[in-house]
Symmetry: C2
């Protein structure tokens, strides 16, 4: 019922103009102190609330930022979003969520929708690397809306990104398996068009070579990030002439599937076979046979992305700084690969 109170209502009540009210509320130094105090008191008593939409229209800034992720119901993305929200809320920004469901068309739609909604920035993890959405990305850049990639990024001049060092992640996980005595290490790889998966693979390969081990193409099995895919991969691997004795998986879900399949085949973990995953999903720690995994510090990634955005948003658009933040991955060693301690 309480009608919307505007500065005009306050002005009328005090027999002054809306301009004076506006200035008083904005602490304009040209306003007499007594007037300012009176206006502020009256505004409070009338329960006045600034209309952000009017402000947004006038200033051209909505104080909303858009976040696009493949899906929100994954611990990783949810945590990143949590980080973004925590960092941006104190600066008065609200976070608008969009999901692509791994669909490029949706990604493009989301980009246009967010620009339409006049967001002040877009933070996103790309769905896939493709030229299909180039027009949508160009549209964002042309509108001079800060764009920041996190985790899954894409090469675009002038666009900043926050990622982890996936190469190193793959490297330390693989090296750990080697140090546990594994000699034939397989890799469950992800979509190689995405740098994160490419780099995890390259880190894996480099670790093998640096430690005098052979890299075998047949040990690399492409999988989707699912339990089922991990099971199938193990079935394939065990049929090889020389089956592997360890797996470094680019996905925790696939790692879990692999473990389930190995158990069914009565292969003992970690004694006969070691497994390491990637992402440090909550369940990896909860299992009785807990799973070694590479942590991507999603909360930190979200906060960092938010900070990079804040740096860019106020920059008088002189030179566009392309900032590439790379966070360090952290290996959490658990039972699925701990021969020495178990």
């Amino acid at each position: 019922m309480s009608e919307k109170i505007t500065i005009y209502d306050i002005a009328k009540k005090l027999n002054i103009t809306a301009a004076t009210v506006s200035r008083a509320l904005n602490n304009n130094p040209k306003i007499k102190e007594s007037t300012r105090d009176l206006v502020i008191k009256t505004a409070a008593s009338m329960n006045y609330k600034q209309n952000k939409l009017a402000l947004a229209l006038k200033s051209g800034r909505s104080n909303n930022i858009g976040v696009i992720v493949p899906r929100i119901d994954s611990n990783f993305f949810a945590s990143v979003i949590r980080g973004i929200e925590e960092e941006l809320q104190p600066h008065g920004y609200q976070v608008i969520i969009c999901q692509t469901h791994e669909d490029l068309k949706r990604e493009s739609e989301n980009l246009y929708t967010l620009i339409d909604a006049q967001v002040d920035g877009i933070l996103m993890s790309v769905t896939a690397v493709s030229t299909e959405n180039d027009a949508a990305f160009r549209n964002v850049l042309e509108k001079n809306v800060p764009l920041i990639f996190f985790d899954r990024s894409k090469h675009i001049d002038g666009v900043s990104s926050v990622t982890i060092n996936d190469f190193k992640g793959g490297y330390i996980a693989t090296k750990h398996l080697i140090s546990e005595g594994c000699r034939c290490i397989a890799h469950l790889s992800g979509d190689q068009s995405l740098e994160i998966f490419k780099n995890r693979f390259l880190g894996y390969k480099q670790a093998l070579l640096d430690n005098g081990m052979l890299f075998k193409e047949e040990y690399v099995v492409p999988v989707k990030s699912s339990v089922e895919a991990g099971k199938n991969a193990v079935e394939t691997l065990l049929q090889l002439e020389t089956p592997p004795d360890a797996i470094f998986s680019s996905s925790d879900f696939a790692a879990l599937g692999a473990i389930q399949e190995l158990k069914e085949k009565n292969i003992s973990i970690p004694k006969e076979f070691c497994v390491a995953g990637f992402s440090n999903e909550p369940f990896t720690k909860f299992m009785e046979l807990s799973i070694t995994s590479v942590d991507q510090s999603p909360l930190e990634m979200g906060k960092m992305s938010a900070r990079v955005f804040l740096e860019q948003v106020d920059k008088t658009d002189t030179i566009k700084i392309e900032k590439k933040v790379v966070l360090a991955p952290e290996l959490h060693i658990r039972k699925s690969s701990s021969r020495t301690t178990s």
Copy 2:
């Protein structure tokens, strides 16, 4: 670089007025067809995009809706949000996320912030039931902004809610434990000021009574939703004169902790002791010793909340309908309580 194109730019180019352009773009029947076509074609060629902020100011609707949850990085809430987003996106609404971190002050701030941002509706799960935030809630209702509770709700006249039948959830889980032969069933309870936890408890109690079993106060242990709390609860319970032989936990995390502690004490599950949790968190299914749990169909809950919102938003504010949607819980029976099949 592309300057913002407005309807005035289009008007100037075609030597007509902005009003005509606006009407043409909105398919106003009074516009000559040739004019309409010309305007639409020109708008497209100039890459015109309607400024939603101007529209929002004029219409008083922002096309944003706010969602407030305790935290986003929990599978349950993330899934609900996913459901909301999927249902509302096709209707042109964007979803703004806020977290309370279980803090009442944050909850109040979030409510004010969302109202300030002129959201068209607020969908939320309350942090706790308390009178502390009454002013904030009153503020929402006074502004006539549709408010809908999901999962954790609060009694406010005229406010709709979407929940699951927690009583039934507690009932079927407990009854299942009974049918597996358990005779002394304990309960790990949550914050009893929240109806969801209260009802889970009441369902548990009723199932005991309906099956001729004694309800013992000492079998009810209040816990936080954490692994640690579950461990501690088991320690307490096992020190009782007649220790229980089963646990119905109102939280999956506490159930997990309970299981871990039972294992440490070398109590075999499900043979000597059965456990059932609540929420059907992903990990319950992934464990080798998978955990029986009550599913709350979060995706459906989100979609339903969104639908209730859509019903209310266009209602000419004649009679405020208070709609209480109650979804059915579903028990997922797994190893932690399957004596018969294992």
